[in-house]
């Protein structure tokens, strides 16, 4: 990968295999290869979009970066510190700088806590503020995300989905992190509310020079928000490039098929499109195909694709592809 000075996060050959136990003595009989060797950089101040279909390992990648799961192998460098080797307490300290916004605004807020307690909790847990200062900071944070500071005494159920997601954003911002992982932050929201939340995320990014890893399956929204985009399939990154390179000139057959499958809200544009319809379903990550993960559904797969795993290589400046047949 390029030696860019302003690399904030560097992930190299990260693997997360979840063991499967069976039988009376709970012997390990296999593993779910959720993330199977992914490498990428996130540069300071950018938004890296991470897209893929359900079960491709994109959320697991996000969680493993934050060490919410202990990775099976690989390294994660944040500002030069290898997070994998950190002790619990040291990692807790690092988490001040890296926060997460979750997909489901209904499940990710404790229903028994008031909004003030939810947003203020990170401040007291990390001993950043106490007493009255917490209240002031909470009021400021709520204002920042477009909520009335007077709502601090209310409970999550009194808010709509979009408002709850704003609460989640306020909580993530409480410790003034530099890096936020947005794990499908808008996919549970209605269309007219999605734009509100995305605009908010972009405003905050500009205001605080935040770096985002934006995980989503909505390729249209990822095109809007990202500077660079990585496409995952079955635990592996298939293609990574600048946004325009990826959307205008996708090189990997999976990216091509994925982009052509996205419906376009314009009947005229839809008529003239070339569509690649993939056959079949995504194989099980318990027993992924040999060689290239995508070969079982790939329209151009060759013999070599079954024999060896394609290297993730830079075919054009900044444009990485894992495919034997792309030159």
């Amino acid at each position: 990968m390029s030696d860019n000075n302003d690399v904030l996060l560097k992930v190299s050959d990260l693997k997360m295999h979840f063991p499967i136990y069976r039988g009376v003595i709970q012997r390990q009989v296999g593993a779910v290869h959720a993330v199977d060797g992914v490498s990428f950089d996130v540069r300071r101040g950018e938004t890296l979009g991470l897209v893929g279909e359900s079960g491709c390992g994109k959320s697991t990648t996000g969680r493993t970066i934050l060490q919410l799961y202990k990775p099976t192998a690989g390294e994660v460098f944040f500002e030069g510190t290898n997070l994998v080797s950190l002790k619990r307490e040291e990692m807790r300290w690092m988490r001040r700088q890296m926060q997460m916004i979750f997909q489901d605004p209904y499940a990710s807020l404790n229903p028994r806590m008031t909004v003030g307690e939810i947003v203020g909790e990170p401040l007291s847990v990390h001993n950043v503020a106490a007493g009255k200062e917490i209240q002031e900071r909470v009021a400021h944070l709520l204002e920042l995300v477009g909520l009335n500071p007077g709502f601090a005494g209310r409970y999550p159920h009194e808010f709509s989905g979009g408002q709850r997601q704003r609460i989640g954003v306020a909580r993530a911002l409480a410790l003034q992190p530099s890096f936020i992982i947005c794990d499908e932050p808008i996919s549970a929201l209605d269309v007219s509310i999605q734009a509100q939340v995305v605009n908010l995320l972009e405003e905050l990014q500009e205001q605080f020079n935040l770096t985002y890893l934006f995980i989503a399956h909505d390729l249209s929204m990822v095109r809007h928000i990202s500077k660079r985009v990585a496409v995952m399939y079955l635990g592996v990154i298939m293609e990574l490039a600048n946004r325009d390179d990826l959307y205008l000139d996708p090189l990997h057959p999976y990216t091509q098929a994925l982009l052509s499958a996205v419906p376009i809200p314009d009947p005229m544009a839809d008529i003239n499109r070339k569509r690649v319809i993939l056959e079949g379903d995504v194989p099980s990550p318990v027993n992924p195909p040999s060689g290239c993960r995508f070969r079982t559904r790939c329209p151009i797969a060759d013999k070599v694709c079954a024999e060896s795993r394609p290297e993730f290589r830079e075919v054009r400046p900044g444009h990485f592809v894992a495919c034997h047949l792309v030159s």
């Binding site: 979009g162 007219s192 509100q196 390729l219 095109r223 419906p263 376009i264 319809i277």
Partner: protein, 329 residues
Amino acid sequence: MPDLLLDIKGLETQFKTPEGIVHAVNGVSFGLKEGETLGVVGESGCGKSVTMLSVLGLVASPPGKVAAGEALFLGEDLLKMPAEKLRHVRGAQIAMIFQDPMTSLNPVLTIGRQLEEPLMLHIGMTKNQARDRAAELLGMVGIPNAKERLNDYPHQYSGGMRQRVMIAMALSCSPQVLIADEPTTALDVTIQAQITDLVKRLRNELGMAIVWITHDLGVVAGLAQRVLVMYGGCVIEEASVTELFASPTHPYTIGLINSLPRVDRNAHSRLYSIEGQPPVLYQKPHSCPFAPRCKWAMERCWKENPTLDPVADEHRVACWVDTKTGRPR
């Protein structure tokens, strides 16, 4: 209008909840012509699913109640039909597929058994005839080794395959109308593309009319011929699909289309967004349900719920404002 298969007039549906009566559907009227595909678009809670469930008599009562209106199917009112007769229309003449293919199949019966049931019930096939036809249907929706896979249970099928089974089941009695309630929402885009392609192919082969309920304007653009846009339990715009996307006229439709980023082009620096939230209707709307979020709203919008009036050929809009000029219509 001639040759209407379905003719819905002034439909109103309410639900009793502890917080009060929710007016989910408020005077919805539309027609469905033979062989056409009608898209029904709207966000959660706008009443799009409840409208179609009401038509089929599938709203649980209590707490739900179809309070007013008619739903004519080939001239007969489905809302007044005796339960036994309605059961025969449902499934045989009007079939429905649901959003979640995981929960709409019975997990303890084989796929074959579930496919055979409507065939024996509605068409009066024998067990053996039904078995053969079931295999044929599975093959038609693109499931390989159809004959062997009849003996599988739903959990042995993937999400996309289960939705194919639902479609096979819905089409098994050659219905004239297929109502699809967000059938691809739970699926990944590549699988969604497979399913919409399948539906297009079957539509051309079998010629049934389709009502496709969705929140995804992209899916509607590629599939429907005519579109209803719903908001707050009312139809707020109705047009052909090309007309709707070329000249959306209701402020909500305009906002919705503009707020979507597109995969085929770079968006503007900021997404257009509709501020505020959709309403919860504890009262029957006496003003325009969209007025609180509308930047065009005038005095009249707060006093009277607009009627659905034509603005062009086959294009109707419920709005007091002419959004092209900003003046009263």
